[in-house]
């Protein structure tokens, strides 16, 4: 399968990117440092370890997805390796999907490695491994998949710097969805509110993948949200990749 082949070399290429290991190093540092921070805190120490650990995995995972993802398609075009590639009998969609899956695979490995360190630290502190932590990490990964799709979308038509900024903006907007919700509650009914409401439904709500707070504070997670969140992630990823293919198909490689 062409998609598999492209995913394979994308994984190989991403593996060689030093940024990946730099970010992994900082993530590991953050997770380990939480142990130290825990000493400074007043109150329940394990909470801060879990909090900082999950936050590290999340933040550095997002940075990995953005920094590598935004270069993926752009590099091929810039270095002209895309000419020989697209001259082969493959659909442009296959190219996009292959790149996407290659990076997702890379992130899976990195997230797994970071999670292992994290769980080891938690285990050293409490002697147990909570299932909730694994759930939180799994949904962090789902968020990374979505961010990867965004990065690839922007990479297919923009330079790495701009793409990174757009992807970062997407991430920030995704975590401020509650702000829009508050705004809608305070607006008076009318065209403005309808517009903001439409925006609210369409703009990403990345908090759907954020179970960190519940897991760390021991709050219950309503079961209905597990499936809804996964489907939401899948739909949004499909939408973004669809856009990427749409943009990429029409492109002329001069």
């Amino acid at each position: 399968m062409t998609i598999k082949a492209i995913a394979g070399i994308t994984f190989k290429e991403a593996k060689r990117d030093r940024i990946l290991y730099l970010l992994f190093f900082f993530a590991a540092l953050g997770i380990v440092a939480s142990r130290v921070l825990a000493i400074l805190t007043v109150g329940d120490r394990i909470k801060i370890i879990k909090d900082v650990g999950l936050a590290s995995i999340s933040i550095f995972g997002v940075l990995m997805a953005i920094l590598i993802g935004t270069g993926l398609v752009y590099k091929e075009i810039d270095k002209k390796t895309i000419y020989t590639l697209l001259a082969k009998p493959l659909y442009r969609a296959e190219f996009i999907l292959g790149k996407f899956l290659g990076l997702v695979l890379t992130l899976l490995v990195m997230t797994g490695a970071m999670a292992l360190i994290f769980l080891a630290i938690v285990f050293a502190h409490t002697g147990t491994v909570e299932g909730g932590l694994l759930v939180a990490v799994a949904y962090i990964f789902l968020e990374l998949v979505l961010i990867t799709a965004v990065a690839i979308l922007f990479s297919s038509f923009s330079t790495p710097i701009l793409s990174s900024l757009f992807a970062l903006a997407f991430y920030l907007i995704g975590h401020l969805s509650w702000g829009l919700e508050l705004l809608i509650k305070k607006m008076r009914p009318g065209a403005g509110r309808v517009l903001v409401h439409a925006l609210y439904m369409v703009l990403p709500d990345l908090e759907n993948f954020n179970f960190r707070t519940e897991v760390v504070h021991g709050l219950p997670i309503p079961p209905g949200i597990y499936l809804s969140s996964v489907l939401y992630g899948v739909c949004y990823t499909a939408f973004l990749l669809g856009l990427a293919v749409l943009v990429f198909r029409r492109r002329d490689f001069v």
Binding site: M1, T2, K4, A5, I6, G8, I9, K12, E13, R16, K79, K80, T81, Y83, T84, L85, L86, A87, K88, P89, L90, Y91, R250, D252, F253, V254
Partner: protein, 305 residues
């Protein structure tokens, strides 16, 4: 015999720049390449050669016109299944070795394992990269990259090989090797379509040519048809006789020592020159008829357009 490539009324306009200014690059290209023939595509820089190739390969979407590869429309990726392409300045993934890169290319065609292995080994030998096969591509010289590029173009045993300036940047030995390989394609029944600036090479190996100038095909046809066997002039080098003796027979181009180089336009006058040399007891150093070359046609066509 089907057409390996059939292009009809191909048009493409680019809108470049922040405030798009349209530039019409291809103004209605029409030509065909028959199966089994070796076809040369010539033109000055900026005429639209590379754009034509990119339309053929689906890298650029034409505004109008038809492009068919072995009967299939070029807008479908499947049309490229029997096609192999070598770009002008090949760039490949520099962290892969030649072998890995060929394996990746083979995977794109879905070749199975046995075929893949055999073909990669054979191609590496063919292009002369047997020893360098496991070095990363970033360590390759320009010539080596060219060879690797040729190998990846042949991985699917294509019926049609498209080459963009395949002979540029290689030393004379390398150029001979590539020429020989291209001739081999012809023997194998492959169709070859390539662009080149080096007109001597085209003359040597092509069956048919097309000349594109300013986005239009201005000349198309068999090489033998375009390039007549007509003798333009004869160059005669003579020694031992002073130039004035030949004054009304030919043009004295240069003298060196006691050697005189003459350009004789009329074939009949050549006989007169030879007799003169014989009579005056001079020495005929060399005599070469200069026939019309492709270069002459090319320069003539381009300057005329």
């Amino acid at each position: 015999m089907a057409d390996a490539i059939r292009i009809e009324n191909l048009r493409k306009t680019f809108r470049l720049g922040f405030i798009p200014r349209p530039r019409e690059i291809l103004k209605g290209i029409t030509f065909s390449v028959r199966e089994g023939e070796t076809f040369g595509y010539l033109g000055p820089n900026g005429a639209g050669k590379t754009t034509t190739i990119k339309c053929l390969l689906g890298l650029i979407h034409p505004d109008a016109g038809t492009i068919e590869i072995l009967g299939r429309s070029a807008s479908s990726p499947r049309s490229r299944e029997p096609l192999g392409f070598l770009p002008e300045n090949p760039y490949f993934y520099d962290y892969l070795t030649a072998r890995e890169f060929l394996a990746f290319t083979a995977d794109l065609f879905g070749l199975d394992r046995g075929v893949k292995r055999e073909r990669i080994a054979r191609l590496l030998e063919l292009v002369g990269l047997g020893r360098a096969a496991d070095l990363p591509l970033r360590k390759y010289s320009r010539g080596m990259l060219q060879r690797a590029g040729l190998a990846q173009a042949l991985i699917n045993d294509p019926k049609l090989v498209v080459l963009d300036e395949p002979l540029g940047g290689m030393d004379p030995l390398g150029r001979k090797e590539i020429r020989d390989i291209i001739v081999r394609f012809k023997d194998e029944g492959k169709t070859v379509f390539f662009t080149s600036h080096i007109l001597q090479d085209i003359e040597m190996i092509c069956d048919r040519v097309a000349i594109i100038v300013g986005g239009r095909i201005v000349k198309e046809g068999g090489l033998r048809d375009l390039v007549s066997e007509k003798v333009l002039f004869t160059e005669v080098t003579v020694s031992g006789i002073s130039p004035q003796a030949f004054a009304d027979l030919g043009e004295c181009v240069s003298t060196r020592g006691d050697r005189v180089l003459l350009k004789v336009y009329d074939e009949a006058l050549v006989e007169a020159v030879v007799s003169l040399v014989h009579d005056r007891k001079g020495r005929l150093v060399s005599l070469s008829p200069r026939t019309e070359t492709l270069e002459d046609i090319f320069v003539d066509t381009v300057t005329r357009t």
